[in-house]
Structure formats: structure tokens, C-alpha cells
Symmetry: C2
Subunit: 185 residues, 2 copies
């Protein structure tokens, strides 16, 4: 927790709502296109957050009837919500990074792994990172020069750097590791 109270996910939802009123479904879509690469949120979790935020008085929900589609509930950030958001933004504290790599767990124990499997894993990881890097680079390139977008772009560029690092890592250690595995056994 950063400062005092709510988990980061709550502020993420609140922040997205500060860009305009939305239903949970719409919010899930928006989150998927904007923050998902560094802070994924499942839609079921979004509904939970919206409920919590409404109880706290940080958002106001309004039920909207629709003819051909299911009725929806549209949420709008309240003034208390804006205050909570700007308090959060006022502090430089942030929730510490969570990183877990099932890939590295396997690499760590790979001295017991068939050579072919290891090679498949390494090339797979390299390729995935390469693809993802290109994708995020494209995202960054397509953003406008609007001031607001500079922040979005910087988060995309973060992902670009990370995935570039992974590609380079795979190229560096790949040959050494498979060679290692050939010696052993």
C-alpha cells in the first residue's frame, strides 16, 4: 500500500474513471488497452473494486436501462474520489513491484532438463519477448504528441526496454546454457 489505505488496483480504477464515466465492462476494455501491460485487472475484479469505491463514496453509480443490451451501471468519479486520487498522487510512495517468472524457475532447475526442452524454452521466450517488444513499440509510436500521452508513452517504452533486455539476455545466455547441458550427462 502506498501511504495509507487502498490497494493500487483501486487507484487504477479511480484514475481510469477520471478520464470519463464508464460501466464496469467499458472500464475493463479501457484498462486492457491502457494499463494492462503493467497492471492487469480482470473484469470480475473491476466489479468488486467499483463496489468498494462506491461504498467509500469515491464513485457514484447510476443504473442505465438499455433496449437490446443488458442494463448497465455507469460509474462516475465523485469529488471525494478526486480528492483521494490527488492525495495518492501527492505521495512519491508506490506499491513495490511484483515480478514472478515461471520461466526462470524452470531455467534455474534446467540442469535436470532434456536439452531439447531447454532449447525450445529459450527460443520461445526470446520470440515472445521480441513480439511483445514490437507491439509496445508500435503502441508508443502511435501515440500523439498530446501532453497527456507522454505519460502513456513512457509506460509503453518501459515495456519496450524490458522486452529488449529479455531478447538480449536470451541471446547472451542461450548458447552458454545449451552448451553446458551438452557437457553434463
Amino acid at each position: 500500500m502506498a501511504g495509507h489505505g487502498l490497494p493500487t488496483t483501486s487507484y487504477a480504477v479511480l484514475g481510469l474513471l477520471s478520464r470519463g464515466p464508464m460501466s464496469g465492462y467499458e472500464l475493463a476494455g479501457f484498462a486492457g488497452e491502457s494499463i494492462a501491460h503493467f497492471w492487469p485487472i480482470r473484469k470480475s475484479q473491476i466489479y468488486g473494486e467499483l463496489g468498494r469505491l462506491e461504498e467509500l463514496g469515491f464513485v457514484d453509480g447510476t443504473s442505465v436501462h438499455q433496449e437490446k443490451l443488458p442494463d448497465k451501471r455507469v460509474y462516475r468519479i465523485s469529488s471525494a474520489g478526486k480528492k483521494a486520487m490527488s492525495d495518492w498522487l501527492g505521495s512519491p510512495d508506490y506499491e513495490s513491484t511484483r515480478f514472478r517468472s515461471g520461466f526462470l524457475v524452470k531455467v534455474f532447475f534446467a540442469d535436470q532438463m532434456p536439452l531439447e526442452t531447454l532449447e525450445r524454452m529459450l527460443s520461445d521466450a526470446r520470440e515472445k519477448a521480441e513480439t511483445y517488444r514490437a507491439e509496445l513499440q508500435a503502441t508508443a509510436d502511435h501515440l500523439s504528441e498530446e501532453p497527456q500521452e507522454a505519460f502513456t508513452r513512457s509506460t509503453a517504452l518501459f515495456g519496450v526496454r524490458i522486452n529488449q533486455a529479455i531478447v538480449e539476455w536470451a541471446e547472451e545466455v542461450g548458447p552458454a546454457l545449451t552448451k553446458e547441458r551438452k557437457k553434463k550427462r
Copy 2:
């Protein structure tokens, strides 16, 4: 899940036990020095995993009485456990990477953030990554040339690359973002 059954944490525990019998407490310490930077496991979770693995017959636990210290339960990997481990290592599938950055969430919404806070955050993130990078580099350097260690070293080098990328990112976008925030408002 990678293949069929257990979560990655179970295999991580099993894999560490394949290096030798340990108590839960010892295992937690070992995990903290080896895999924590890409797969952290809390000790309370380790006890849970050990219980599960014992029920599955993948490890055998033996209670050991100690004079001055609390009694402990020492676990040893069973042959069924070794089989489960090698089956897991035989498949190139791995649990997908989980990455969550509370830092980037704040950066994403930083157009509403006081300039000073943004600057503090960026330099803090840069510094943390720099420190962590050096730490992991030292870890990699101190590993021997034993074949086994090559895999451990590669996971450390992964962290080195990642943190190097973060440092470079901060240097790239830092000035642009703070400049952006100076224009706005």
C-alpha cells in the same frame, strides 16, 4: 499451470529439496538466497506447500527433536517427487510471467501529479534499479564455474539486464516527463 497439475511454487519447493533435505525454515532461507528475485515465496506458504507435497507423496517429512531450539520437521524428496519434478522439467511449458508495477501506475496518471513528487519517484526508481542491478551482478560474479551454477548465474544475469533496462529507461524518459509536467499547469 505448466502442463497438468501443480502450481509453479510446488515445483520450486520440490526442486530446492532436490538439492538436499531441509526443514521449512531452512528451505525458506535457501529460497530467499536463490530464487527469490524471480519467484519469492513466503515462509508461511512454504509450510503449506510442504504439507501438500507430503500428502501427494512427493516428499517425506521426519520430525526431529532439538534441545535448545524448537523441534523441526525435515523434508526429503521422494522418488515419486523426483519423477514429478522430471516430468515437469520435460515439458517446455511454463506459467506465464506475472508483472505488476505500482510505480508505472503512478507514472501513467502523473499528469495530475506535483512535479516534485514525479521527480522524486523517478530518481528513486532509478536508484533502486541501479542498486539491485549491482547486487545481482555481484551474485553472478561470485558463482563458481561449476556446471550447476551456470543456470543460477543465468537467472541472476536476467535480473541484471532487467534492472539495467530500468536505469536506462529512467534516464531516457525522466527529463521528457518532468519537462512535460512543467509545461502543463
